[in-house]
Symmetry: C3
Subunit: 331 residues, 3 copies
């Protein structure tokens, strides 16, 4: 099974911060992948599960992470009435419980996790053990630990993630805490920390769903982190509000506004995003997305990679508009 998500796109202010670009575009709603997954009943409510997902970019055929065959899940474990325990390379709970339902947005179409302080809003960690509880009265909790594998220090490069969600009728609430330890420091007492808290809620009113998400990032200093590039000490928060409306059973439109504020550097960014999904079938959809980014106070975030080397990938105070038209097909 798998999913292909690709099309064509336009973005302005890419080269030198002023030149526009037209080209193939991947990951409008999410990464393309081909995978193998399954469940074996072991009796007594116990089962063995596995999931291997090879991420790729259809426009070039390239692996989405260089040298990694199964860059988008490589897990195996046991599922039981007492919860699910898995090991391998695994997504964090933000991606599992908040990205698809609350934050939304794809890698090339305006997403909160593209902001420089918020990469861990959608991250897959190496060397992990992950536990997901059963659902009790709508509540579900989870914890994961990613080993840093540093000799002489259990904490160097270590990652952990705690999360919970609550679903009752039309209401979804979710929260997650990611904790990434600098993997560079030989003496862990000198290592920096990257901490990310996310909170999200969504509520459905018939054909309308309202979404509200919040993320707070605290980076204590430069370091080697699994999800973010090295950057000096800073704190930032981001808020996303979105609406999804099913105009017809086949056509859904979404509108989102994202506000990011780096309180340390006193800069901010805004993203406005419109998305239309027209389903030709359960497996095939046509996608149109437009996003506009505004940077202020010296912020240099980007929707689509430019040739700038600044943190965030864009040019200071420069805005950017990105349009994508594509197709998404599940098989």
């Amino acid at each position: 099974s798998g999913v292909i998500d690709t099309g064509i796109g336009y973005a302005n202010n890419v080269g030198n911060g002023t030149q526009s670009k037209v080209g193939g575009t991947d990951s409008i709603l999410g990464v393309s992948n081909v995978g193998f997954s399954g469940k074996e009943d072991l009796g007594g409510g116990l089962s063995a599960i596995f999931n291997l997902q090879a991420g790729f970019n259809p426009t070039t055929g390239a692996q989405s992470a260089s040298g990694q065959l199964f860059s988008r899940n490589a897990l195996v474990g046991l599922d039981s009435p007492g919860g699910k325990l898995t090991v391998g390379k695994q997504w964090n709970f933000n991606d599992d419980w908040l990205v698809g339902s609350i934050f939304k947005g794809g890698y090339n179409s305006g997403a909160i996790f593209k902001f420089s302080e918020f990469d861990a809003v959608s991250e897959i960690y190496n060397n992990t053990v992950k536990y997901v509880s059963p659902t009790f009265s709508g509540f579900q909790g989870g914890a994961m630990l990613g080993f840093g594998e540093a000799a002489g220090s259990v904490r160097s490069g270590q990652v952990y993630n705690l999360a919970g969600r609550y679903q009752q009728g039309p209401l979804l609430l979710a929260a997650s805490y990611d904790h990434e330890q600098d993997g560079n420091a030989s003496l862990i007492s000198n290592g920096s920390l990257y901490k990310l808290v996310t909170l999200g809620a969504s509520y459905g009113f018939g054909a309308l769903t309202a979404r509200l998400g919040y993320a707070h990032s605290d980076i204590s200093g430069p370091g080697v982190f699994q999800s973010i590039p090295s950057q000096s000490a800073r704190k930032a928060y981001a808020v996303e509000a979105g609406l999804d409306y099913a105009f017809t059973p086949a056509f859904t439109g979404s509108a989102d506004a994202i506000y990011r504020k780096n309180t340390t550097l006193a800069n901010n960014s805004k993203v406005y995003r419109l998305l239309g999904i027209y389903s030709l079938s359960k497996r095939t959809s046509l996608i149109a997305n437009i996003a506009h980014l505004n940077n202020a106070g010296g912020a240099s975030e980007s929707l689509v990679a430019t040739n700038s080397t600044a943190i965030g990938g864009g040019y200071a105070n420069q805005s950017q508009t990105a349009v994508a038209l594509g197709i998404r097909h599940l098989f």
Copy 2:
């Protein structure tokens, strides 16, 4: 599904233009690949289609294009009574309509697309949109556009391809035009061009099929092209004539002669090729191929890569003979 095509081979004049080599040989008739493809009926004559093909070399297990999982097709799109529209990484029409039926030959067994000016006779392009018309009275047309994705210039690195073919009873006619723009030039007015025209015809007389193909290449100067290495301005043409004869239902023999002439540099190359395919079943064949190359006037083309760094991969005026024995299995 997939195909494995491999065996053992011999080539002379490889090391220093004089030493011979024996070894494993891939791609005697074509690249090995494993893939996923499918069609979903969307009703009203419309369907969603996809095709992902991972190219590999059985002798080493390596990916046939470094870092690319699906190097041999990564497309998704829609098929309808009005034609087929697909996006992704896709083969050009030369490969679709002329290589398998008219030019023939494999990567390690003497093929017209191995000549330095004729790589685009078999090429897969990145970032493409491709349209193939329905068939009208035996005629079918197609067009594809590959984005260069250069900031500030829509044309830099851009590729397009127009083609048509006509099939009626035993007759096949096909023509294609490839247009590749230099992807290096920041100011497109300075960019070089690579233009390739191909024409082909085949006709079946019972157990005998006669094939005739022509290609004309026009390279306006050095540049970064998707299919050819950078080379100075030059024009060249190549002609291939071939016969296939089905001696028995299981055994087919082919004989081809290829003549290449670089009119700018006044050099030329000839290839003579004999191929035997013995089918053990519809899925499994044994293959024997022998090809002889002759370079004249300073030409340095090659059948099999040598340690020369000259354009064409061979040594000036040196000949080469390559033999391959193998098996081809579809699954």
Copy 3:
């Protein structure tokens, strides 16, 4: 189909030869892979066979051999009453006939093939032709040839392997000879040789199986070999004795002792290994493994890679203990 083998592990004396490490661990019993294989009946006892296996590490999703899609088999060929003939990238007979049944042990859990002179006890060779005979009264023989593909020298980089095994009731006997020619030498008369002889026996007494294996390695000098790093001339032998006992139908315990002696350098290493496998089903097992390595006389072997650059990957005269807990799932 495929297999995932991963978990968590601990090893001491990794960093600077003194620091310990905790982390994800792959290949406790063997490499994880996903593959495609099949057999096509061609009639008359003949069939076409193929096997493609993509090796990967679940802890990171990475390909187990960089750039190789099918690093753990890429073969195609014919099977017949007269034997099996295959071409491609293929495992040697040591791996086929001795590793799984006599030596045992995984890449991260204490195995004879981790010793610096004994890599060829488990090796996959490029560019090979392999023949396996039918079984005559319990005896089976095999031969394989791997081309070095060096221009001007058929022998440079060439590999061959001869082997036989005998199975009768509870008795298994196996022997293999690997011969690897230095691929670096332009004049083969100057090339070094790596020769490896292995002998093994196992016998089942009800729930108990006893295993005894021997390997002798002769490296004539530095060179570029397919399976071992370049090292000065040396000879070494290794002996492994092991017991497997099925405590219950679901639980098997194994105990092994391995002694390695480098007779040229007069150093030695010992490994003691305990393994428990608890089968939740035919497809799913839980694994616990503990191995202890002891180096003496200047030996610098390792169970798990350290940051030493010495031959063997460890620190001279340093011991190492490695523990792994994991799950193995076939699909």
